[in-house]
């Protein structure tokens, strides 16, 4: 063990602590009840019995204050983009965003529309893009699992 000690950087203790903290944050992601369009219906289905997000500890919260994941489920028009940005600012700090569906990824099928924001990454930093129109509940769960892996690798204590 001693030899190992020299090579590994000295914060081996913190990675263990980091890992524990990240594990806790990863396994209880509370997502915000924010559904604009068709992807909102699929978001309801993911909360439903067949593909149940409660298994991963993900509970829908209605206030931005208590949620740490914002799923952009549906089309964001310019009029709505201003409100979405304000909601994102109201969320307490370690917060994440999943862009669900083509409309949130890059404007999707409303490419020709004059009133639809072409992709939510123009307004807020996006962590995971989930393709699909609307993505299956299982595809969204795959997005959540990828987000959890990303949370697991974060260096929480020294960020």
């Amino acid at each position: 063990m001693l030899t190992l000690y020299k090579q590994l950087p000295n914060f081996i203790l913190t990675t263990k602590l980091d890992e524990l903290l990240n594990w806790c944050r990863k396994s209880s992601v509370w997502y915000m009840l924010f559904a604009t369009a068709c992807c909102g219906i699929e978001l309801m289905q993911t909360g439903g019995p067949r593909c149940d997000w409660d298994r991963f500890g993900a509970v829908p919260r209605s206030t931005p204050r208590q949620s740490d994941l914002m799923i952009i489920a549906g089309t964001i028009s310019y009029k709505m983009a201003v409100c979405t940005r304000r909601l994102y600012d109201q969320m307490p700090d370690p917060k994440y965003v999943i862009a669900m569906g083509s409309c949130a990824n890059c404007g999707g099928l409303f490419k020709h529309s004059y009133s639809v924001l072409k992709g939510i990454d123009k307004v807020m930093p996006v962590d995971i893009y989930v393709p699909g129109c609307p993505p299956r509940p299982e595809a969204l769960t795959d997005g959540l699992l990828k987000l959890q892996e990303k949370m697991q690798k974060e260096k929480f204590l020294r960020s």
């Binding site: 209880s28 019995p49 307490p92």
Partner: protein
């Protein structure tokens, strides 16, 4: 409890033993209380899952047992966020009376004949007083977060708590009338071990008092038919809209803690708390001095958990009342019946000084009949939809 302890440590002065004992009780209750809220929230999410034919948390740890630990630590790591123009002091102060109000009531709960924080002779009055603290916290939370939704939530909780305190206290009066004292230990010891001697079956009016107690206690604990203060679908999240992270968890602890206190009160006041039948008692005391207490604690927990599970199930079945209907139920239905039950019990005790055995058995069997019909009806529901609910993928 203090006398036995002072015999154990004769050399220490009396006041020191008292101080140590209070310290131990405080630490025990606080840890018990905060450790209790987590597993119950996991249990509630599992039961809710089962009721909605889905599975609750089962990924975090074996069968999701440590889901609550993850929730707690995550909330602990959240940013400590106070709205800019919120009333800072009041905002920080609000969660503590709510948490305190519910923790204090644990002191006088009789877990067994000896195991009690402090057997005050004004036990019941103390519990109702401590519960009053919760209202201050909710109104402070509602007012201080400078958000219109929380203001509405705070006002609603004030109206609800106060107007349901009256039927609650009146139904407790019935118990005090029958047992003659406010201290919980004497209330329990004046009830016998077998169901017939419990207060709930002693006369029909006490049965009504029990029903009123349960309804108003559920309202006092902000549980579902009456969860208007944090109505999810109307006022975004009621009084705790602006709270995040650890502060929100204090409200969370208070809600689950209330659940346990309601169950414990119902068990000790109406269902003869830790009374165990004589047969068990002398069998246990033959084994050793500790065993009877263990049996008593187990009996008390069993009775408490029946009500905790019922209230949890209530949450996932009933819709929410409107504010004016809430008031109507309290003032027009619960309070008059509470008065009727007090007068009735008084007259009953005058007419039948030692209680009318036939009526006790009648009430007992009617309660058993209701439970039997409940089970039969549940099985009938199952067969009615031919348990097609697990109608898997058609493909």
């Amino acid at each position: 409890m203090i006398q036995q302890l002072s015999l154990l440590f004769p050399m220490l002065p009396m006041w020191l033993v008292q101080a140590i004992w209070c310290g131990v009780v405080a630490v025990l209750l606080l840890t018990f209380f905060s450790l209790f809220a987590g597993p119950v929230s996991w249990l509630e999410r599992r039961i809710a899952g089962r009721i909605m034919s889905r599975i609750g948390p089962n990924r975090v740890g074996p069968q999701g047992i440590i889901q609550w630990l993850a929730d707690g630590v995550k909330n602990f790591l959240k940013e400590d966020l106070i709205p800019r123009d919120a009333d800072k002091i009041l905002f920080r102060f609000a969660p503590y009376p709510v948490f305190l109000g519910v923790t204090l009531t644990l002191v006088t709960l009789p877990f067994s004949s000896l195991l009690i924080g402090a057997d005050l002779n004004v036990g019941l009055l103390y519990i109702v007083g401590a519960w009053g603290l919760v209202v201050i916290g909710l109104i402070a939370a509602g007012w201080s977060s400078n958000n219109k939704w929380t203001l509405l939530g705070g006002m609603r909780s004030a109206a609800q708590m106060i107007s349901y305190e009256i039927p609650l206290v009146l139904s407790l009066l019935v118990v005090v009338l029958m047992s003659g004292s406010l201290s919980l230990q004497t209330i329990i010891s004046s009830q016998g071990a077998s169901p017939v001697e419990w207060f709930i079956f002693s006369n029909p009016f006490a049965f009504i008092a029990f029903v009123i107690f349960m309804i108003s206690a559920v309202a006092e604990g902000n549980r579902t038919p009456f969860d208007l203060p944090e109505a999810e679908s109307e006022l975004v999240a009621g009084y705790n809209t602006e709270y995040s992270g650890m502060r929100f968890l204090f409200f969370f602890f208070a809600e689950w803690g209330n659940l346990y206190v309601i169950g414990a009160l119902a068990a000790s006041l109406f269902l003869g708390g830790w009374q165990i039948p004589a047969g068990w008692r002398n069998f246990a005391s033959a084994q050793g001095p500790i065993l009877p207490h263990v049996f008593e604690v187990l009996m008390f927990q069993l009775k408490t958990w029946i009500w905790v599970l019922l209230i949890i199930q209530l949450r996932w079945t009933l819709p929410r009342l409107r504010v004016d209907q809430l008031m109507k139920v309290s003032w027009k239905y619960l309070t008059p019946f509470a008065f009727v039950s007090i007068v009735g019990t008084g007259l009953w005790m005058v007419v039948f000084p030692e209680g009318w055995l036939f009526m006790k058995y009648l009430l007992l069997f009617s309660m058993l009949a209701v439970i039997g019909y409940f089970v039969w009806r549940a099985i009938w529901q199952l067969r009615f939809t031919k348990s097609k609910a697990d109608f898997k993928l058609i493909v």
